[in-house]
Protein backbone atom coordinates (compact mmCIF):
# COMPACT_ATOMS: atom_id res chain seq x y z
CA UNK A 1 0.00 0.00 0.00
CA UNK A 2 1.10 3.49 -0.84
CA UNK A 3 3.61 4.94 1.65
CA UNK A 4 5.94 7.03 -0.48
CA UNK A 5 7.28 9.07 2.44
CA UNK A 6 7.80 6.06 4.72
CA UNK A 7 5.23 7.40 7.16
CA UNK A 8 5.16 3.93 8.71
CA UNK A 9 8.52 4.78 10.26
CA UNK A 10 6.92 7.45 12.46
CA UNK A 11 3.98 5.28 13.49
CA UNK A 12 4.29 3.17 16.63
CA UNK A 13 4.02 -0.61 16.45
CA UNK A 14 0.51 -0.43 17.97
CA UNK A 15 -0.53 2.19 15.43
CA UNK A 16 0.66 -0.01 12.57
CA UNK A 17 -0.92 -3.10 14.15
CA UNK A 18 -4.33 -1.41 14.39
CA UNK A 19 -4.08 -0.19 10.81
CA UNK A 20 -3.02 -3.60 9.54
CA UNK A 21 -5.80 -5.45 11.33
CA UNK A 22 -8.49 -3.14 9.94
CA UNK A 23 -6.78 -3.23 6.53
CA UNK A 24 -6.96 -7.01 6.47
CA UNK A 25 -10.62 -6.92 7.52
CA UNK A 26 -11.45 -4.46 4.74
CA UNK A 27 -9.53 -6.49 2.15
CA UNK A 28 -11.25 -9.73 3.11
CA UNK A 29 -14.71 -8.69 4.27
CA UNK A 30 -15.54 -5.38 2.58
CA UNK A 31 -13.86 -5.21 -0.83
CA UNK A 32 -15.36 -8.48 -2.14
CA UNK A 33 -18.95 -7.31 -1.47
CA UNK A 34 -18.97 -3.54 -1.59
CA UNK A 35 -19.31 -3.05 -5.35
CA UNK A 36 -22.50 -5.12 -5.41
CA UNK A 37 -23.89 -3.47 -2.28
CA UNK A 38 -23.29 -0.10 -3.89
CA UNK A 39 -25.09 -1.02 -7.10
CA UNK A 40 -27.95 -2.54 -5.08
CA UNK A 41 -28.10 0.64 -3.01
CA UNK A 42 -27.82 -1.03 0.38
CA UNK A 43 -25.53 -0.72 3.38
CA UNK A 44 -23.89 -4.15 3.91
CA UNK A 45 -25.28 -4.81 7.39
CA UNK A 46 -23.61 -8.21 7.44
CA UNK A 47 -20.27 -6.58 8.28
CA UNK A 48 -21.54 -4.88 11.47
CA UNK A 49 -20.86 -7.80 13.87
CA UNK A 50 -17.33 -8.20 12.49
CA UNK A 51 -16.61 -4.49 12.82
CA UNK A 52 -17.92 -4.62 16.39
CA UNK A 53 -15.76 -7.62 17.23
CA UNK A 54 -12.75 -5.88 15.75
CA UNK A 55 -13.54 -2.87 17.94
CA UNK A 56 -13.72 -0.01 15.43
CA UNK A 57 -16.78 1.71 16.91
CA UNK A 58 -15.81 4.52 19.26
CA UNK A 59 -12.31 3.06 19.30
CA UNK A 60 -10.79 6.21 20.82
CA UNK A 61 -13.19 6.21 23.78
CA UNK A 62 -12.07 4.71 27.12
CA UNK A 63 -11.79 1.01 27.87
CA UNK A 64 -14.02 1.30 30.94
CA UNK A 65 -16.97 1.74 28.56
CA UNK A 66 -16.08 -1.29 26.48
CA UNK A 67 -14.11 0.69 23.90
CA UNK A 68 -10.53 0.13 22.77
CA UNK A 69 -9.01 3.29 24.29
CA UNK A 70 -6.92 4.02 21.20
CA UNK A 71 -5.08 7.24 20.48
CA UNK A 72 -6.33 9.56 17.77
CA UNK A 73 -3.76 8.52 15.18
CA UNK A 74 -4.92 4.93 15.55
CA UNK A 75 -8.51 6.11 15.26
CA UNK A 76 -7.63 8.05 12.10
CA UNK A 77 -5.88 5.06 10.56
CA UNK A 78 -9.06 3.01 11.15
CA UNK A 79 -11.08 5.63 9.28
CA UNK A 80 -8.53 5.63 6.46
CA UNK A 81 -8.77 1.87 6.04
CA UNK A 82 -12.57 1.77 6.23
CA UNK A 83 -12.90 4.43 3.56
CA UNK A 84 -10.36 2.60 1.42
CA UNK A 85 -13.28 0.18 1.28
CA UNK A 86 -16.08 2.69 0.83
CA UNK A 87 -17.08 6.10 2.16
CA UNK A 88 -20.41 4.57 3.22
CA UNK A 89 -18.67 2.07 5.47
CA UNK A 90 -16.49 4.78 7.00
CA UNK A 91 -19.54 7.03 7.40
CA UNK A 92 -21.31 4.26 9.28
CA UNK A 93 -18.39 3.98 11.71
CA UNK A 94 -17.94 7.76 11.96
CA UNK A 95 -21.56 8.27 12.86
CA UNK A 96 -21.62 5.39 15.32
CA UNK A 97 -18.41 6.47 17.08
CA UNK A 98 -18.01 10.21 16.74
CA UNK A 99 -21.63 11.34 16.40
CA UNK A 100 -23.62 8.87 18.52
CA UNK A 101 -21.21 7.36 21.06
CA UNK A 102 -19.11 10.50 21.56
CA UNK A 103 -22.03 12.75 22.65
CA UNK A 104 -23.23 10.08 25.05
CA UNK A 105 -19.70 9.87 26.42
CA UNK A 106 -19.10 13.64 26.52
CA UNK A 107 -22.55 14.94 27.50
CA UNK A 108 -24.36 11.89 28.89
CA UNK A 109 -25.01 10.84 32.47
CA UNK A 110 -23.06 7.94 33.92
CA UNK A 111 -26.21 5.82 33.63
CA UNK A 112 -26.53 6.68 29.94
CA UNK A 113 -22.88 5.85 29.35
CA UNK A 114 -23.24 2.49 31.09
CA UNK A 115 -26.50 1.73 29.29
CA UNK A 116 -25.32 2.40 25.77
CA UNK A 117 -21.59 2.67 25.16
CA UNK A 118 -20.37 -0.92 25.50
CA UNK A 119 -23.29 -2.26 23.48
CA UNK A 120 -22.69 0.37 20.82
CA UNK A 121 -18.97 -0.49 20.75
CA UNK A 122 -19.98 -4.09 20.07
CA UNK A 123 -22.31 -3.01 17.27
CA UNK A 124 -25.36 -4.38 19.11
CA UNK A 125 -26.99 -0.95 19.21
CA UNK A 126 -26.59 1.32 16.19
CA UNK A 127 -26.83 5.07 16.62
CA UNK A 128 -27.51 8.03 14.37
CA UNK A 129 -27.11 11.79 14.80
CA UNK A 130 -29.93 14.19 14.07
CA UNK A 131 -28.77 17.77 13.61
CA UNK A 132 -29.35 18.82 9.98
CA UNK A 133 -32.89 19.81 9.03
CA UNK A 134 -34.50 20.17 5.59
CA UNK A 135 -34.01 23.95 5.65
CA UNK A 136 -31.01 24.18 7.98
CA UNK A 137 -27.83 22.50 6.75
CA UNK A 138 -24.85 24.82 6.85
CA UNK A 139 -26.76 26.94 9.35
CA UNK A 140 -27.75 24.56 12.15
CA UNK A 141 -28.36 27.40 14.60
CA UNK A 142 -31.58 28.12 12.69
CA UNK A 143 -33.06 24.70 13.48
CA UNK A 144 -36.76 24.56 14.30
CA UNK A 145 -36.98 21.15 16.00
CA UNK A 146 -38.25 21.89 19.50
CA UNK A 147 -38.41 19.95 22.76
CA UNK A 148 -40.71 21.18 25.51
CA UNK A 149 -40.31 20.11 29.09
CA UNK A 150 -43.53 18.98 30.76
CA UNK A 151 -44.49 19.61 34.37
CA UNK A 152 -43.43 16.09 35.34
CA UNK A 153 -39.96 16.63 33.86
CA UNK A 154 -40.63 14.57 30.72
CA UNK A 155 -40.20 16.04 27.23
CA UNK A 156 -42.27 16.36 24.07
CA UNK A 157 -40.30 16.60 20.83
CA UNK A 158 -41.50 17.95 17.48
CA UNK A 159 -39.60 18.52 14.24
CA UNK A 160 -37.80 16.84 11.35
CA UNK A 161 -34.23 15.98 10.50
CA UNK A 162 -32.75 15.18 7.09
CA UNK A 163 -29.68 13.55 5.55
CA UNK A 164 -29.29 11.31 8.59
CA UNK A 165 -26.74 8.53 8.02
CA UNK A 166 -27.83 5.23 9.66
CA UNK A 167 -31.25 6.84 10.30
CA UNK A 168 -33.38 3.82 9.43
CA UNK A 169 -30.87 1.28 10.78
CA UNK A 170 -30.35 2.93 14.15
CA UNK A 171 -31.72 1.66 17.45
CA UNK A 172 -31.22 5.09 18.97
CA UNK A 173 -31.06 8.59 17.55
CA UNK A 174 -29.09 11.36 19.24
CA UNK A 175 -31.32 14.29 18.34
CA UNK A 176 -30.50 17.98 18.77
CA UNK A 177 -33.39 20.33 19.48
CA UNK A 178 -34.06 23.78 20.81
CA UNK A 179 -35.91 23.75 24.10
CA UNK A 180 -38.96 25.31 25.68
CA UNK A 181 -39.77 27.73 22.85
CA UNK A 182 -36.42 29.54 23.05
CA UNK A 183 -35.37 30.29 19.41
CA UNK A 184 -31.72 31.03 20.25
CA UNK A 185 -29.11 28.37 19.61
CA UNK A 186 -28.10 28.57 23.27
CA UNK A 187 -31.21 26.50 24.07
CA UNK A 188 -30.06 23.52 21.96
CA UNK A 189 -29.84 20.26 23.92
CA UNK A 190 -29.24 16.65 22.96
CA UNK A 191 -31.78 13.83 23.46
CA UNK A 192 -31.55 10.07 23.12
CA UNK A 193 -34.58 8.89 21.17
CA UNK A 194 -35.00 5.10 20.83
CA UNK A 195 -36.34 3.77 17.52
CA UNK A 196 -39.92 2.67 17.92
CA UNK A 197 -40.84 5.55 20.21
CA UNK A 198 -44.40 6.60 19.34
CA UNK A 199 -44.41 9.51 16.91
CA UNK A 200 -40.82 8.92 15.71
CA UNK A 201 -40.47 7.68 12.14
CA UNK A 202 -37.40 7.22 9.92
CA UNK A 203 -37.74 6.98 6.18
CA UNK A 204 -34.88 6.25 3.76
CA UNK A 205 -34.08 8.94 1.21
CA UNK A 206 -34.21 7.34 -2.22
CA UNK A 207 -32.55 8.15 -5.51
CA UNK A 208 -29.03 8.81 -4.25
CA UNK A 209 -26.24 8.76 -6.83
CA UNK A 210 -23.59 8.93 -4.08
CA UNK A 211 -23.04 6.97 -0.85
CA UNK A 212 -25.28 4.27 -2.23
CA UNK A 213 -23.88 1.72 0.23
CA UNK A 214 -25.11 3.80 3.15
CA UNK A 215 -28.54 4.41 4.65
CA UNK A 216 -29.53 8.06 4.55
CA UNK A 217 -32.84 8.94 6.14
CA UNK A 218 -35.31 11.58 7.07
CA UNK A 219 -36.40 11.53 10.72
CA UNK A 220 -39.78 12.90 11.74
CA UNK A 221 -40.80 13.62 15.34
CA UNK A 222 -44.47 14.24 15.93
CA UNK A 223 -45.38 14.79 19.59
CA UNK A 224 -42.74 12.31 20.67
CA UNK A 225 -42.91 11.83 24.44
CA UNK A 226 -39.53 11.24 26.03
CA UNK A 227 -38.70 10.38 29.62
CA UNK A 228 -36.86 12.95 31.74
CA UNK A 229 -33.65 10.94 31.55
CA UNK A 230 -33.56 11.05 27.75
CA UNK A 231 -31.81 14.42 27.77
CA UNK A 232 -28.01 14.49 27.60
CA UNK A 233 -27.51 16.42 30.86
CA UNK A 234 -24.15 18.00 30.05
CA UNK A 235 -25.17 19.22 26.57
CA UNK A 236 -25.76 22.92 26.22
CA UNK A 237 -26.00 25.14 23.17
CA UNK A 238 -24.93 24.66 19.58
CA UNK A 239 -21.38 24.12 20.80
CA UNK A 240 -22.25 20.56 21.88
CA UNK A 241 -23.21 19.17 18.45
CA UNK A 242 -20.39 21.17 16.88
CA UNK A 243 -17.94 19.42 19.20
CA UNK A 244 -19.26 16.10 17.87
CA UNK A 245 -18.77 17.29 14.31
CA UNK A 246 -15.19 18.27 15.05
CA UNK A 247 -14.56 14.66 16.15
CA UNK A 248 -16.22 13.28 13.03
CA UNK A 249 -14.49 15.72 10.68
CA UNK A 250 -11.16 14.73 12.09
CA UNK A 251 -11.97 11.14 11.08
CA UNK A 252 -13.19 12.26 7.66
CA UNK A 253 -9.85 13.92 6.97
CA UNK A 254 -8.25 10.49 7.34
CA UNK A 255 -11.03 8.64 5.58
CA UNK A 256 -10.67 10.72 2.44
CA UNK A 257 -7.02 9.65 2.25
CA UNK A 258 -8.15 6.03 2.25
CA UNK A 259 -10.51 6.59 -0.67
CA UNK A 260 -7.76 8.41 -2.55
CA UNK A 261 -5.28 5.61 -1.83
CA UNK A 262 -7.72 3.04 -3.21
CA UNK A 263 -8.15 5.07 -6.39
CA UNK A 264 -4.42 5.65 -6.78
CA UNK A 265 -3.59 1.97 -6.30
CA UNK A 266 -6.24 0.99 -8.82
CA UNK A 267 -5.01 3.56 -11.34
CA UNK A 268 -1.36 2.58 -10.83
CA UNK A 269 -2.10 -1.11 -11.27
CA UNK A 270 -4.20 -0.40 -14.34
CA UNK A 271 -1.51 1.82 -15.86
CA UNK A 272 1.05 -0.96 -15.53
CA UNK A 273 -1.16 -3.61 -17.08
CA UNK A 274 -3.32 -1.88 -19.66
CA UNK A 275 -1.60 -2.04 -23.02
CA UNK A 276 -2.36 0.50 -25.71
CA UNK A 277 -0.20 1.33 -28.73
CA UNK A 278 1.80 -1.81 -27.82
CA UNK A 279 2.91 -0.62 -24.38
CA UNK A 280 1.61 -0.21 -20.85
CA UNK A 281 -0.19 3.12 -20.62
CA UNK A 282 1.79 3.89 -17.45
CA UNK A 283 4.73 4.50 -19.77
CA UNK A 284 3.07 7.49 -21.38
CA UNK A 285 4.00 10.86 -19.98
CA UNK A 286 0.43 12.06 -19.69
CA UNK A 287 -0.46 9.18 -17.33
CA UNK A 288 2.76 9.60 -15.39
CA UNK A 289 1.94 13.25 -14.75
CA UNK A 290 -1.51 12.16 -13.60
CA UNK A 291 -0.05 9.57 -11.24
CA UNK A 292 2.63 11.96 -9.96
CA UNK A 293 0.00 14.59 -9.16
CA UNK A 294 -2.18 12.04 -7.38
CA UNK A 295 0.76 10.68 -5.43
CA UNK A 296 1.93 14.12 -4.35
CA UNK A 297 -1.47 15.23 -3.11
CA UNK A 298 -2.00 11.98 -1.19
CA UNK A 299 1.36 12.27 0.57
CA UNK A 300 0.63 15.88 1.57
CA UNK A 301 -2.77 14.87 2.95
CA UNK A 302 -1.24 11.99 4.88
CA UNK A 303 1.18 14.36 6.57
CA UNK A 304 -1.57 16.86 7.38
CA UNK A 305 -3.76 14.26 9.07
CA UNK A 306 -0.91 12.60 10.90
CA UNK A 307 0.26 15.88 12.37
CA UNK A 308 -3.32 16.84 13.24
CA UNK A 309 -3.69 13.51 15.04
CA UNK A 310 -0.55 14.19 17.06
CA UNK A 311 -1.94 17.64 17.98
CA UNK A 312 -5.26 16.05 18.95
CA UNK A 313 -3.48 13.52 21.14
CA UNK A 314 -1.55 16.36 22.75
CA UNK A 315 -4.85 18.15 23.34
CA UNK A 316 -3.76 21.24 21.45
CA UNK A 317 -5.66 20.95 18.15
CA UNK A 318 -8.22 23.53 17.13
CA UNK A 319 -11.49 23.11 15.21
CA UNK A 320 -10.04 25.42 12.54
CA UNK A 321 -7.14 23.02 11.99
CA UNK A 322 -9.67 20.23 11.59
CA UNK A 323 -11.50 22.39 9.03
CA UNK A 324 -8.28 22.78 7.06
CA UNK A 325 -7.62 19.04 7.06
CA UNK A 326 -11.21 18.09 6.16
CA UNK A 327 -11.38 20.72 3.44
CA UNK A 328 -8.04 19.84 1.90
CA UNK A 329 -8.30 16.07 2.11
CA UNK A 330 -11.89 15.69 0.90
CA UNK A 331 -11.19 18.02 -2.00
CA UNK A 332 -7.92 16.22 -2.76
CA UNK A 333 -9.70 12.87 -2.77
CA UNK A 334 -12.43 14.03 -5.17
CA UNK A 335 -9.69 15.16 -7.58
CA UNK A 336 -7.70 11.94 -7.22
CA UNK A 337 -10.80 9.78 -7.73
CA UNK A 338 -11.78 11.69 -10.85
CA UNK A 339 -8.28 11.47 -12.34
CA UNK A 340 -8.11 7.76 -11.52
CA UNK A 341 -11.42 7.20 -13.24
CA UNK A 342 -10.16 9.02 -16.30
CA UNK A 343 -6.95 7.02 -16.38
CA UNK A 344 -9.08 3.86 -16.40
CA UNK A 345 -10.72 4.96 -19.62
CA UNK A 346 -14.01 3.26 -20.43
CA UNK A 347 -13.41 0.60 -17.80
CA UNK A 348 -13.45 3.38 -15.24
CA UNK A 349 -17.21 3.74 -15.46
CA UNK A 350 -17.83 0.12 -14.40
CA UNK A 351 -18.75 -0.85 -10.84
CA UNK A 352 -16.16 -3.61 -11.19
CA UNK A 353 -13.58 -0.88 -10.61
CA UNK A 354 -13.67 1.25 -7.46
CA UNK A 355 -12.67 4.68 -8.72
CA UNK A 356 -16.02 5.92 -9.99
CA UNK A 357 -17.78 4.61 -6.86
CA UNK A 358 -15.28 6.56 -4.75
CA UNK A 359 -15.63 9.57 -7.04
CA UNK A 360 -19.40 9.63 -6.56
CA UNK A 361 -19.12 9.00 -2.82
CA UNK A 362 -16.59 11.76 -2.34
CA UNK A 363 -19.01 14.36 -3.66
CA UNK A 364 -21.00 13.69 -0.48
CA UNK A 365 -17.88 13.74 1.67
CA UNK A 366 -16.97 17.07 0.07
CA UNK A 367 -20.42 18.36 1.00
CA UNK A 368 -21.24 16.88 4.40
CA UNK A 369 -19.93 17.77 7.86
CA UNK A 370 -19.34 21.31 6.79
CA UNK A 371 -19.21 21.88 3.05
CA UNK A 372 -15.92 22.73 1.42
CA UNK A 373 -17.16 26.32 1.06
CA UNK A 374 -18.15 26.69 4.70
CA UNK A 375 -14.74 25.44 5.79
CA UNK A 376 -13.21 28.04 3.47
CA UNK A 377 -15.06 30.72 5.42
CA UNK A 378 -14.02 29.21 8.75
CA UNK A 379 -10.38 29.40 7.63
CA UNK A 380 -10.94 32.88 6.24
CA UNK A 381 -12.25 34.01 9.59
CA UNK A 382 -9.40 32.26 11.41
CA UNK A 383 -6.76 34.23 9.53
CA UNK A 384 -8.51 37.59 9.03
CA UNK A 385 -10.50 37.77 12.22
CA UNK A 386 -13.47 38.82 10.09
CA UNK A 387 -16.64 36.72 10.16
CA UNK A 388 -18.07 36.14 6.67
CA UNK A 389 -21.24 34.58 8.08
CA UNK A 390 -22.54 37.80 9.60
Amino acid sequence: MLDFFNIDSVLSEEERAVRDSVRQFVDEQVLPIIGHAYVEGRFPKEIIPGLGELGVFGANLPEEYGCAGLNNVQYGLIMQELERGDSGVRSFASVQGALAMYPIFAFGSEVQRRTYLSRMAAGEIIGCFGLTEPDYGSNPSGMITMAREQQDGTWVLNGAKMWITNGSTAGIAVVWAKTNGDPSDASIRGFIVPAGTKGFTAKDQKGKLSLRASDTSELVFQDVHLPADSILPQSGGLKSPLMCLTQARYGISWGAIGAAMACFEEALDYSQNRVMFDRAIGGFQIQQVRLADMLTEIVKAQLVSLHLGRLKDAGTFTPQQVSLAKRNNASMATDVAREARRLLGANGILAEYASMRHMANLESVYTYEGTHDVHSLILGQAVTGLNAFK
Binding site: A17, V18, S21, G55, A59
Partner: protein, 250 residues
Protein backbone atom coordinates in the same frame (compact mmCIF):
# COMPACT_ATOMS: atom_id res chain seq x y z
CA UNK B 1 -4.36 -27.23 28.67
CA UNK B 2 -0.91 -25.77 28.34
CA UNK B 3 -0.15 -25.20 24.67
CA UNK B 4 2.99 -23.82 23.05
CA UNK B 5 2.85 -22.42 19.53
CA UNK B 6 6.16 -22.01 17.72
CA UNK B 7 5.85 -19.38 15.03
CA UNK B 8 8.09 -18.07 12.29
CA UNK B 9 8.14 -14.54 10.97
CA UNK B 10 8.22 -14.58 7.18
CA UNK B 11 7.87 -12.00 4.40
CA UNK B 12 4.53 -11.39 2.73
CA UNK B 13 4.33 -14.02 -0.01
CA UNK B 14 3.02 -11.48 -2.50
CA UNK B 15 6.12 -9.28 -2.20
CA UNK B 16 8.43 -8.68 -5.12
CA UNK B 17 11.58 -10.43 -4.02
CA UNK B 18 15.16 -9.53 -4.78
CA UNK B 19 18.31 -11.47 -4.03
CA UNK B 20 20.55 -9.90 -1.39
CA UNK B 21 24.11 -8.81 -2.16
CA UNK B 22 25.41 -12.04 -0.58
CA UNK B 23 23.68 -13.98 -3.34
CA UNK B 24 22.53 -16.53 -0.79
CA UNK B 25 19.47 -14.87 0.74
CA UNK B 26 16.46 -12.71 0.00
CA UNK B 27 16.99 -8.95 0.35
CA UNK B 28 14.84 -7.89 3.32
CA UNK B 29 14.74 -4.22 2.31
CA UNK B 30 11.18 -2.96 2.01
CA UNK B 31 9.63 -6.37 2.69
CA UNK B 32 6.68 -6.62 5.03
CA UNK B 33 6.97 -9.42 7.54
CA UNK B 34 4.24 -11.17 9.47
CA UNK B 35 3.49 -14.45 11.21
CA UNK B 36 3.84 -17.20 8.61
CA UNK B 37 0.44 -18.29 7.26
CA UNK B 38 0.51 -21.86 8.60
CA UNK B 39 1.85 -20.67 11.96
CA UNK B 40 -1.15 -18.30 12.05
CA UNK B 41 -3.43 -21.31 11.74
CA UNK B 42 -1.52 -22.94 14.59
CA UNK B 43 -2.08 -19.89 16.81
CA UNK B 44 -5.80 -20.00 16.04
CA UNK B 45 -5.95 -23.74 16.75
CA UNK B 46 -4.33 -23.23 20.16
CA UNK B 47 -6.74 -20.44 21.07
CA UNK B 48 -9.77 -22.48 20.02
CA UNK B 49 -8.73 -25.59 21.93
CA UNK B 50 -8.38 -23.60 25.15
CA UNK B 51 -11.55 -21.60 24.52
CA UNK B 52 -13.46 -24.83 24.01
CA UNK B 53 -11.98 -26.25 27.21
CA UNK B 54 -12.87 -23.04 29.05
CA UNK B 55 -9.34 -22.38 30.26
CA UNK B 56 -5.67 -23.16 29.91
CA UNK B 57 -2.59 -21.29 28.91
CA UNK B 58 -1.08 -20.57 25.53
CA UNK B 59 2.50 -19.48 24.96
CA UNK B 60 3.96 -18.31 21.69
CA UNK B 61 7.65 -18.84 20.93
CA UNK B 62 9.83 -17.49 18.12
CA UNK B 63 13.52 -17.45 17.27
CA UNK B 64 15.21 -14.49 15.63
CA UNK B 65 16.34 -10.90 16.01
CA UNK B 66 14.36 -8.31 17.98
CA UNK B 67 12.00 -7.77 15.07
CA UNK B 68 10.27 -11.09 15.82
CA UNK B 69 8.84 -9.48 18.95
CA UNK B 70 6.34 -7.69 16.74
CA UNK B 71 5.01 -11.05 15.56
CA UNK B 72 4.99 -12.39 19.12
CA UNK B 73 2.91 -9.39 20.18
CA UNK B 74 0.59 -9.97 17.26
CA UNK B 75 -0.04 -13.52 18.49
CA UNK B 76 -0.72 -12.11 21.96
CA UNK B 77 -3.09 -9.53 20.43
CA UNK B 78 -5.02 -12.47 18.99
CA UNK B 79 -5.32 -13.87 22.53
CA UNK B 80 -2.17 -15.86 23.36
CA UNK B 81 -1.28 -15.35 27.03
CA UNK B 82 2.47 -14.82 26.95
CA UNK B 83 5.50 -14.97 24.69
CA UNK B 84 9.08 -16.21 24.67
CA UNK B 85 11.61 -14.64 22.34
CA UNK B 86 14.65 -16.85 21.75
CA UNK B 87 17.09 -14.29 20.54
CA UNK B 88 19.39 -14.99 17.59
CA UNK B 89 20.90 -12.70 14.98
CA UNK B 90 19.34 -14.75 12.23
CA UNK B 91 17.27 -17.89 11.80
CA UNK B 92 19.55 -20.63 10.46
CA UNK B 93 18.66 -22.59 7.34
CA UNK B 94 19.19 -25.86 9.22
CA UNK B 95 15.84 -26.92 10.72
CA UNK B 96 17.51 -29.29 13.17
CA UNK B 97 19.63 -26.45 14.59
CA UNK B 98 16.39 -24.52 15.15
CA UNK B 99 14.66 -27.56 16.67
CA UNK B 100 17.45 -27.93 19.23
CA UNK B 101 16.87 -24.40 20.51
CA UNK B 102 13.12 -24.94 20.68
CA UNK B 103 13.43 -28.32 22.41
CA UNK B 104 15.75 -26.76 24.99
CA UNK B 105 13.08 -24.20 25.75
CA UNK B 106 10.11 -26.56 25.60
CA UNK B 107 11.38 -29.60 27.49
CA UNK B 108 10.93 -28.18 30.97
CA UNK B 109 7.79 -26.22 30.11
CA UNK B 110 5.24 -28.92 30.93
CA UNK B 111 3.34 -28.40 27.68
CA UNK B 112 0.50 -30.76 26.76
CA UNK B 113 0.64 -29.75 23.15
CA UNK B 114 3.23 -28.04 20.97
CA UNK B 115 1.93 -26.65 17.67
CA UNK B 116 3.78 -25.54 14.54
CA UNK B 117 2.77 -24.51 11.04
CA UNK B 118 3.15 -27.48 8.69
CA UNK B 119 5.96 -25.65 6.97
CA UNK B 120 7.09 -22.08 6.56
CA UNK B 121 6.56 -20.13 3.39
CA UNK B 122 10.15 -18.98 3.10
CA UNK B 123 12.04 -22.26 3.60
CA UNK B 124 9.38 -24.96 3.03
CA UNK B 125 11.54 -27.59 4.71
CA UNK B 126 8.90 -28.92 7.16
CA UNK B 127 11.68 -30.11 9.43
CA UNK B 128 11.45 -28.06 12.62
CA UNK B 129 8.20 -29.49 13.99
CA UNK B 130 9.11 -33.13 13.45
CA UNK B 131 12.70 -32.69 14.66
CA UNK B 132 11.46 -30.94 17.80
CA UNK B 133 9.10 -33.86 18.50
CA UNK B 134 11.99 -36.29 18.12
CA UNK B 135 14.20 -34.26 20.47
CA UNK B 136 11.39 -34.07 23.03
CA UNK B 137 10.62 -37.78 22.61
CA UNK B 138 6.91 -37.23 22.00
CA UNK B 139 4.55 -38.30 19.20
CA UNK B 140 4.31 -36.11 16.12
CA UNK B 141 1.43 -35.59 13.73
CA UNK B 142 2.08 -33.52 10.63
CA UNK B 143 -0.23 -31.38 8.51
CA UNK B 144 -3.35 -31.62 10.69
CA UNK B 145 -6.35 -29.91 9.09
CA UNK B 146 -8.53 -30.55 12.14
CA UNK B 147 -7.46 -31.03 15.72
CA UNK B 148 -9.35 -31.86 18.90
CA UNK B 149 -8.33 -32.98 22.34
CA UNK B 150 -10.30 -35.07 24.83
CA UNK B 151 -8.76 -36.02 28.12
CA UNK B 152 -5.19 -37.02 27.41
CA UNK B 153 -5.82 -37.94 23.78
CA UNK B 154 -5.64 -35.89 20.63
CA UNK B 155 -7.40 -36.60 17.35
CA UNK B 156 -6.25 -35.03 14.11
CA UNK B 157 -7.49 -35.18 10.55
CA UNK B 158 -4.92 -35.26 7.78
CA UNK B 159 -5.70 -34.53 4.16
CA UNK B 160 -4.10 -36.97 1.76
CA UNK B 161 -4.11 -37.07 -2.00
CA UNK B 162 -7.72 -38.05 -2.75
CA UNK B 163 -8.48 -39.16 0.81
CA UNK B 164 -8.20 -38.16 4.45
CA UNK B 165 -7.26 -39.99 7.62
CA UNK B 166 -8.04 -39.53 11.29
CA UNK B 167 -5.20 -40.26 13.67
CA UNK B 168 -5.20 -40.38 17.45
CA UNK B 169 -2.23 -39.88 19.73
CA UNK B 170 -1.46 -39.50 23.43
CA UNK B 171 -0.43 -36.16 24.89
CA UNK B 172 2.01 -34.55 25.22
CA UNK B 173 2.57 -34.32 21.49
CA UNK B 174 3.75 -32.12 18.65
CA UNK B 175 1.28 -31.32 15.87
CA UNK B 176 2.04 -29.34 12.73
CA UNK B 177 -0.98 -27.49 11.39
CA UNK B 178 -2.35 -27.24 7.87
CA UNK B 179 -4.87 -24.68 6.74
CA UNK B 180 -8.43 -25.78 7.32
CA UNK B 181 -8.11 -25.90 11.10
CA UNK B 182 -9.63 -22.44 11.46
CA UNK B 183 -9.05 -19.15 9.77
CA UNK B 184 -6.88 -17.01 12.05
CA UNK B 185 -8.90 -14.31 13.79
CA UNK B 186 -8.23 -10.62 13.24
CA UNK B 187 -6.33 -9.10 16.15
CA UNK B 188 -9.00 -6.98 17.82
CA UNK B 189 -8.12 -3.38 18.60
CA UNK B 190 -8.57 -4.07 22.31
CA UNK B 191 -6.38 -7.15 21.90
CA UNK B 192 -3.64 -5.05 20.31
CA UNK B 193 -3.63 -2.68 23.27
CA UNK B 194 -3.79 -5.56 25.78
CA UNK B 195 -0.83 -7.33 24.13
CA UNK B 196 1.50 -4.55 25.26
CA UNK B 197 0.86 -5.54 28.86
CA UNK B 198 1.31 -9.30 28.43
CA UNK B 199 4.63 -10.89 29.46
CA UNK B 200 7.30 -11.26 26.78
CA UNK B 201 10.42 -13.03 27.99
CA UNK B 202 13.68 -12.77 26.03
CA UNK B 203 16.54 -15.24 26.32
CA UNK B 204 19.38 -16.37 24.04
CA UNK B 205 18.47 -19.12 21.56
CA UNK B 206 20.51 -22.28 22.19
CA UNK B 207 20.77 -23.11 18.51
CA UNK B 208 22.40 -26.34 17.44
CA UNK B 209 25.30 -26.31 14.99
CA UNK B 210 24.02 -25.40 11.54
CA UNK B 211 25.08 -28.19 9.20
CA UNK B 212 22.92 -27.06 6.34
CA UNK B 213 23.61 -23.66 4.79
CA UNK B 214 22.23 -21.87 1.76
CA UNK B 215 24.91 -21.45 -0.90
CA UNK B 216 22.94 -19.61 -3.52
CA UNK B 217 19.47 -18.15 -3.87
CA UNK B 218 17.76 -17.74 -7.22
CA UNK B 219 14.54 -16.17 -8.35
CA UNK B 220 12.28 -18.25 -10.59
CA UNK B 221 12.71 -17.52 -14.30
CA UNK B 222 10.48 -14.76 -15.65
CA UNK B 223 7.29 -16.13 -17.09
CA UNK B 224 7.06 -15.51 -20.82
CA UNK B 225 4.33 -13.08 -21.81
CA UNK B 226 0.89 -14.52 -22.50
CA UNK B 227 -0.44 -14.88 -25.99
CA UNK B 228 -3.94 -13.96 -27.15
CA UNK B 229 -5.10 -16.52 -29.68
CA UNK B 230 -8.38 -14.90 -30.56
CA UNK B 231 -11.72 -14.01 -29.07
CA UNK B 232 -14.96 -15.88 -28.42
CA UNK B 233 -16.04 -19.26 -29.78
CA UNK B 234 -14.00 -18.89 -32.95
CA UNK B 235 -10.77 -19.12 -30.95
CA UNK B 236 -11.61 -22.42 -29.23
CA UNK B 237 -10.36 -24.88 -31.89
CA UNK B 238 -6.97 -23.15 -32.07
CA UNK B 239 -6.77 -23.01 -28.26
CA UNK B 240 -7.49 -26.74 -27.99
CA UNK B 241 -4.95 -27.51 -30.69
CA UNK B 242 -2.23 -25.52 -28.90
CA UNK B 243 -3.06 -27.04 -25.54
CA UNK B 244 -2.62 -30.47 -27.14
CA UNK B 245 0.38 -29.90 -29.35
CA UNK B 246 2.31 -27.09 -27.66
CA UNK B 247 1.45 -27.10 -23.96
CA UNK B 248 0.73 -30.84 -24.05
CA UNK B 249 -1.74 -30.61 -21.18
CA UNK B 250 -4.72 -32.17 -22.97
Amino acid sequence: MKIAVCIKRTPDSESRFRIAASGAAIDDTGLKFDIDDFAGYAVEAALQINEKAGGGESVVIAIGPDSVQESLRKAMSMGVDRAVHLKADAVPADGIAIAKALAAELQSGGFDLVLFGKHSFDSSSAVVGTATAELLGVPCVTAASELSVTGGTGVARRELEGAAELVSFPLPAVVTIDEGVARPRYPSLKGIMAAKKKPLETKPAQLGAARVTVQKAQLPPERPAGRIIGEGVAAVPELVRLLQTEAKVL
